[in-house]
Amino acid sequence: MSSDQEKSVIIRFAGDSGDGVQLLGSQFLKTSAESKENFLTFPDFPAEIRAPAGTTFGVSAYQLQVGGIHIASPGDKADVLVAFNPAALITNLQYVKESGLILVNEDTFTERNLSKAGYDKNPLVDGSLGLFQMIRLPISSQVGEALKDSDLSKSEIERTKNFWALGLISWMFDRNIDSLTEWINNKFKNNNISNANIKTLEAGYSYGDIHEIEQKIPKLYTSKGAFDAGTYTAIKGSDAMAYGLAAAVEITNIPILFCSYPITPASPVLHSLAKHKDLGVETFQAEDEIAAICSAIGASYAGILGVTSSSGPGIALKTEAMGLALSAELPLVIINSQRGGPSTGLPTKTEQSDLNQAIYGRNGDAPIPVIASSSPSDNFYTAIEAVQIAIKYMTPVLLLTDGYIANASEPWMIPSINDIPKLDLVTNTSTEHTSQAKAFERNSETLARTWIKPGTPNEMYRTGGLEKDVLTGNISYDPANHQAMTDLRFKKIACLQQDLPEQKLSRNNGSKNLILSWGSTYGVIQETLNTCENLNADHLHLRHIYPLPANFTELVQCYEKILVPELNQGQLAKYIQAETSREVISFSKVTGQPFTVDEIKERIVGLEGTK
């Protein structure tokens, strides 16, 4: 890290699924937020629901980077790892920096646990961790000691471990634990439990004070973020998506029926919306993904906005119905929280490999706008934009986000409703017509047909998925009409293209190299460019993927090399070549993990060598 302004620390918590690591992480995040740190977090869930205790496949982790003004990723390797048991240590060691600091709960390093984790010998004593700074903490005994007078059962006492660790870490980062205490009091209905948690929190905190010297527990400092004035919250991507949809209702005054079938990592949006009533968004859990999109289409036919949400395999099932929404020209938003593929793939891991499916994955010539979120908070804005495009152009819109964005959190200034970018939603003032044809009158600017809502007298009309006469909307098998309708569907996209904001560069240094990216890689690329010195590259980040912004081709024309980093086998790269017949350099990674700063940096440096 280049300057003091940039001082950030990467910390990783790892333990059994039952150890409360996610809670620990998110509470530490809160203290960071309160002390006005910048941060970005990324939980690394185990693939299993709750594997047997002590096993490697049951390990849950939570990584966050705090401090500095430029951080926009959870960081590469951790400066600090807190490992609650041997399985957590063995599986997470690979994510720790050389000479990084490791805090372990030494009480769990029993023979049984060691062998479950696959250790032949105890790594705490066999010297194999010599490269790291190791702090052995008797967490289990410490909480036992702190709570020896409580009425709690042994396992209940053991379960307060995460608060002990939270206390110690808070001490190390010099955080105030008052608000944590308050939160614990509110969270746990059972007084005994909340008292116990507070006690161990405090015990962890004092442990730092007392054992600082003897155990060489360091104090860690980070620099503050440089935030504009405003009210901030820590926003998780899936929540931002839900709030964005709600805000769209507020802006458009059109209620939303959110229809979904659970799937990882898309479900949290459903859960988040289900919690909130009185926002004009209702949720419907359908019997499958096809029913979900079809009921959303039904809602749109009936005059409110249907939204549906899923991940790759579920999106595959929706592709037939997307064609119906396109053909019937109904507004619809389809959200894809991408995960590792193909097939069931790696459900809990992140990937950007559904881009092809989004752009091309339907039968027939079936153009549907595609936009993509770049960060957790961006989900809020893309949701609003997708809704507005859908309504303004009477079209389904595909919104791409991914598992990384869904689960990551970042600080976000809560906007006021007036600050949110809006599209002019035009409505057609219709001339005299028979009822059937009225629904097919088009707005001259957007080519959108008129959204007639059942219940409106004298405007009854019939529509469906067969080709329709361009004027009356009646079924038509006429060859020229089919050409006209096909052209019309593409012209709508051209109208939208004119309506999109001009594409800007995210970094313009006058370089001859361009980094061209989309989706969740935004943060790590920005962080790389801002924190590594002397990188010779400009940066263009795409939010509007189909259609591309009107000035896109011109904008990229002057670059000699265009590097396209993405978490798939080069899908955007090929798409750009298809759209511009211009060669680009694909930088692909398909491991289920986000890019690291180091990886991006290396490739940018390497650009000098490519021809």
Partner: protein, 333 residues
């Protein structure tokens, strides 16, 4: 065509201007006619009525009615209709489907619409064949049906539509014949009145690919001893002269008794009795008549009622940004 001010809409007023395009002689014509008559009888508002269909010959139905109409994709009409009804519970929503559309590709959505008991009226035109795709056997085709895809006869045991509806937890199950204006009209009215999902199987003759499959029970020759018209609270009598009655044996299997002599043994139709409903659906129609009319009807809570009550009908009372501001936040000045 401004019928808004008309105080009384005739059946014709419910017809759209589109030319009807079924094969001449297709049973669908008769159903369409009874539908416009029923709409007129009930004086349903055209603008508050929506017909949703899947794909198939039957599924062209909505085009011929001057109401709102949505011809969707194969098998998914109940799901689309669910969305329509949730969005606007004031609409009268009708689903038109076929035996292929509703029971082959669409069986799952049919089941879920029925179990949720969403207030839509599902009419399944059963011609025991895929009409639109030129005559392949369907899930209701009888064993050994010869068709382009089963030239040696089909091997699949068919699924009886009404029994499937029963297993799916339907709260209303009826059966009618395409050309039986009275019986069909009555059932359409009853299904309109029923709150919750209704399921009606309409035996429909496909004159081109499966002509006469129902003749044993619906043909003129068949006669009244092959049809049992059910009336709630009335004995189950049939035959030209109502001379036959249906009764139950000790092992719960049906028997036919001489109604003139043993009227007391004859079962009284009780729409709310699921066991009787199953017995009526299971009647072996070689020996017994086929049951028509409302076979089962027992109201229960409807999904969208609860939905709209609990969920407050898409009302927006708060700003999402206020909710955010009332959460955990911090200020930077």
């Amino acid at each position: 065509m401004n019928n808004q001010d008309k105080t009384n809409l005739s059946p014709k007023d419910y017809a759209s201007s589109q030319e009807v395009r079924w094969c001449p002689g297709c049973g669908d014509y008769a159903i369409l006619k009874t539908m416009t008559q029923t709409l007129s009888k009930l004086q349903l508002k055209k603008e508050d009525t929506v017909f949703v269909s899947g794909i198939g010959c039957a599924a062209r139905f909505p085009y011929y009615l001057d109401t709102y109409g949505f011809h969707t994709i194969h098998g998914r009409a109940p799901a689309v209709a669910t969305g329509v009804k949730l969005a606007n519970p004031n609409l009268s929503v009708w689903v038109i489907t076929g035996d292929g559309d509703g029971l082959s590709i669409g069986g799952n959505h049919l089941m879920h619409a029925l179990r949720r008991n969403i207030d839509i009226n599902i009419l399944l035109f059963n011609n025991e064949i895929y009409g639109l795709t030129k005559g392949q056997f369907s899930p209701t085709s009888r064993l050994n049906t010869r068709s382009p895809s089963s030239p040696e006869g089909s091997l699949d045991s068919p699924v009886p539509p009404c029994k499937f509806a029963l297993g799916s937890g339907a709260s209303f199950i009826a059966r009618a014949i395409d050309k039986d204006k009275k019986g069909l009209g009555m059932v359409l009215e009853r299904s309109y009145e029923h709150k919750g999902a209704t399921f009606t199987e309409i035996l429909q003759n496909c004159i081109v690919y499966n002509d006469g499959v129902f003749n044993d029970h619906t043909g003129k020759e068949a006669g009244l001893d092959k049809q049992l018209h059910l009336v709630h609270g009335q004995p189950m009598l049939f035959g030209e002269d109502k001379q036959f009655g249906l009764a139950l044996d000790l092992d719960l299997s049906p028997i036919i008794v001489d109604a003139k002599k043993e009227l007391s043994k004859v079962l009284i139709h009780d729409e709310t009795n699921e066991m009787l409903a199953l017995m009526l659906m299971n009647l072996n129609t070689n020996q017994f008549p086929m049951a028509f009319g409302v076979i089962y009807a027992k109201p229960k809570n409807t999904f969208e009622n609860d939905f709209h009550q609990k969920q407050n009908r898409f009302k927006r009372d708060k700003s999402v940004l206020d909710i955010l501001k009332n959460g955990t936040t911090w200020k930077v000045d």
